[in-house]
């Protein structure tokens, strides 16, 4: 029975991956690399750089702040997959 589900599951995954690849790969190609679209810059304006550094670090800090939620969500997904026999097995828990 596991084989039947695995086969059907792999078919669904293949369909999903194909749709993703047909969308993502061409989209990547369409975006020119930064050097192609580089526009003249002003050079450094005084005082801008340190402020820019502070703001640039914010997305990384936000990712770190959300880690408790994202980690537990990932663990939840893994646990459910494991419990229904689709993830790596674990020791029995009582």
């Amino acid at each position: 029975m596991s084989d039947q589900f695995a086969e059907a599951g792999s078919a669904v995954v293949a369909i999903t991956l194909r749709a993703r690849d047909q969308t993502v790969n061409p989209t990547r190609t369409l975006f020119p690399p930064p050097e192609v679209v580089a526009v003249p810059t002003t050079g450094a304006l005084p005082g801008i750089e340190p402020a820019a550094e502070s703001l640039v670090g914010m997305p990384e800090a936000a990712r770190s702040g959300l880690e408790p939620v994202t980690d537990k969500t990932r663990r939840a997904v893994n646990l459910f997959l494991r419990d229904v026999g689709l993830g790596p097995s674990a020791r029995p828990k009582l």
């Binding site: 669904v12 002003t42 670090g57 914010m58 828990k93």
Partner: protein, 580 residues
């Protein structure tokens, strides 16, 4: 089986859970809402809970819809349902029918169609492996479930996957333990078509304890979802913010970098003010995906509150966006509030850097005495859009326009004139920086039409064909665009905003496809140059992308805030309505 059924067929895991059940007691009266009845049974310390509600109705609404009919005839539909893969899926259904007497349709309609709930409780601090989870299914036909379970247990015991199924008791209620051939154990409890299944015995015992509570008592998770306004939504993943407070505080305290510590500390304050949080997906005319958070606004830090819950109406600038725009982003801006909001997440060094940038970078350009009035006069409405190139242009790159409303009369400062001088200064600096290192030179010229004076930067080598960055003031707006014509074409809106639910962002995939097809040759040539891929490969990729894009009309990002709730939602509109 229709395309919608084939594509939205149950995941094997869910199907497996649906059939992994044993004897049920005689049918009793069912709760009015099957999902609420299942939610009543989730363990009390559940921190993450996924609810799929009324899947049957949602799938029936998609079956035979204009979009499904379109998909069945489209090249995309044919690609998604290639014979080899569909055969594997069909084999599973044949297997289920032969062994258990049910197909996908009946499983969806009678077992999974009312409510499926996944509830997760993390392990205690320092013991993440002591987590537990339970899957709850409220099936429409309990008798069908009984039959499935009997057949499944018989089948798995015969095949050797299961060594034994034995009854167990908790608080006088019977549940079952299954021992697998690998030694692993799993447990389930079932009554009146409700199945609870888990790999952790304590989760099943907690379900039994919850089942003993009075039925009329509002369920914690259901109440939380209702408070977020998501009761009628098809799929909701609910988070209990209180389950993450301790870990977030510990993370803030242990952060080594001062900037990270400041950010996470402020983030933890925002989190403490969060009463509920959920992600959701819901099919309607299109597909809606979103996140909703409910805050105690009194506890929310002031700077964040003013950013998340702005007062005033929406931007009127949607009216300025041309119909053929590929991408448009529209918003309202209050620079002093935005800076205050950002500052609240920064460490002292970062705050000082931001202040320095304003005082040393911006103030000398506009004049220190005028700076507060200029900052207050920027906005509130702003817009950026990308549209296909002008027909008169030789280039293939899309054109772009950005406009920012300027509000005068702030302390007697002519904000428009001051801002124009500042932008002109920046353009001159850019021109100087380029010209001193290149033999080709950027020209900065001035042109006037219909009373609007526009500055135009031009250099055929420095800028792509068709691109002549320009700026000017028109109808009280600073307008910066890829060509002077786009500034002349800009029409300042009059009257109120476009609507109460106008989006923040709109991506027109229909117009993107038309653009890609119209300029296919030039795009392939340019992309081959910058990607080092053969032109034929790019042509093939573009054709594949075009097939996918055909299915869509537009994608919109919307934001609503009020009554303590903040919602950010993505609305995917297809070429035809997704539901009947």
């Amino acid at each position: 089986m229709t395309t919608a059924r084939r594509l939205l067929r149950p995941h094997p895991a869910v199907v497996w859970v649906a059939v992994c059940t044993l004897m049920v007691s005689p049918a009793q009266a069912r709760a009015a809402d099957p999902a609420d009845e299942a939610l009543r049974l989730v363990p009390p310390e559940t921190r993450i809970c996924l609810v799929v509600r009324d899947l049957r109705t949602h799938l029936r609404a998609i079956e035979g819809s204009p979009f499904e009919k379109w998909l069945e005839q489209s090249p995309l539909g044919k690609r998604l349902t290639e014979p080899g893969e569909m055969a594997k899926i069909q084999q599973l259904e044949t297997f289920l029918k032969s062994q258990f007497g049910v197909g996908f349709d009946q499983l969806l309609d009678d077992v999974l169609g009312d409510a499926v709930v996944l509830a997760y409780e993390p392990g205690p601090p320092g013991k993440p492996d002591d987590e537990s989870g339970v899957v709850l299914v409220n099936a429409r036909k309990p008798d069908l479930l009984v039959g499935l379970v009997e057949k499944l247990n018989e089948f798995q015991q015969k095949s050797g996957e299961i060594k034994s199924v034995r009854p167990l008791t908790h608080q006088g209620r019977r549940y079952f333990g299954r021992e697998k051939s690998t030694g692993e154990r799993e447990y389930y409890f079932i009554r009146d078509g409700i199945l609870a299944f888990s790999g952790q015995e304590r989760a099943i015992r907690q379900v039994i304890e919850q089942d003993a509570t009075p039925p009329g008592k509002p369920a914690r998770v259901a109440t939380g979802i209702a408070a977020l306004g998501l009761t009628g939504h098809c799929a909701v993943c609910w988070f209990d913010p209180r389950g993450f407070d301790a870990e977030l505080s510990a993370k803030a305290e242990s952060a080594k970098d001062e900037g990270d510590r400041a950010f996470i500390t402020q983030f933890a304050e925002v989190w403490k003010a969060t009463d509920g949080l959920a992600l959701y997906a819901h099919p309607g005319r299109g597909l809606e995906l979103g996140v909703v958070a409910r805050f105690d606004q009194e506890k929310l830090p002031k700077g964040v509150r003013e950013l998340a819950f702005p007062s005033g109406e929406e931007s009127a600038l949607w009216k300025a966006v041309p119909d053929d725009a590929i991408l448009a982003v529209v918003g309202r801006l209050n620079v002093p509030r935005l800076l205050a909001g950002f500052e609240s997440f920064l460490a002292p060094d970062g705050k000082a850097g931001l202040k320095k940038a304003i005082e040393e970078g911006l103030a000398p350009i506009v004049g220190r005495d005028k700076l507060p009035a200029v900052l207050a006069g920027l906005g509130p409405d702003w817009v950026v859009w990308i549209a296909p190139p002008d027909k008169a242009s030789d280039g293939f790159l899309p054109g772009w326009t950005a406009a920012l409303k300027l509000t005068d009369d702030k302390g007697g400062v002519d904000v428009g004139r001051t801002v124009m001088q500042a932008v002109d200064f920046v353009a001159q600096m850019a021109r100087f920086a380029y010209n001193k290192d290149h033999t080709d030179q950027i020209e900065l010229t001035e042109a006037t039409r219909d009373g609007a004076t526009v500055k135009v930067m031009s250099n055929e080598k420095a800028f792509p064909v068709g691109q002549r960055p320009s700026f000017g003031i028109k109808a009280g707006h600073l307008v910066v665009a890829s060509s002077p014509d786009r500034i002349y074409q800009f029409k300042a809106p009059t009257g109120p905003a476009a609507g109460a639910r106008s989006p923040l962002l709109r991506l027109s995939l229909k117009h993107l496809r038309v653009y890609l097809e119209t300029h296919r040759g030039a795009i392939i040539e340019a992309a081959a140059r910058w990607s080092d891929k053969p032109a034929m490969e790019i042509e093939r990729e573009l054709a594949e992308l075009s097939v996918v894009l055909e299915a869509f009309d537009r994608v919109e990002l919307r934001h609503t805030a009020g009554d303590g709730k903040f919602r950010l939602s993505l609305h995917v509109e297809f070429v035809e309505p997704l539901t009947k």
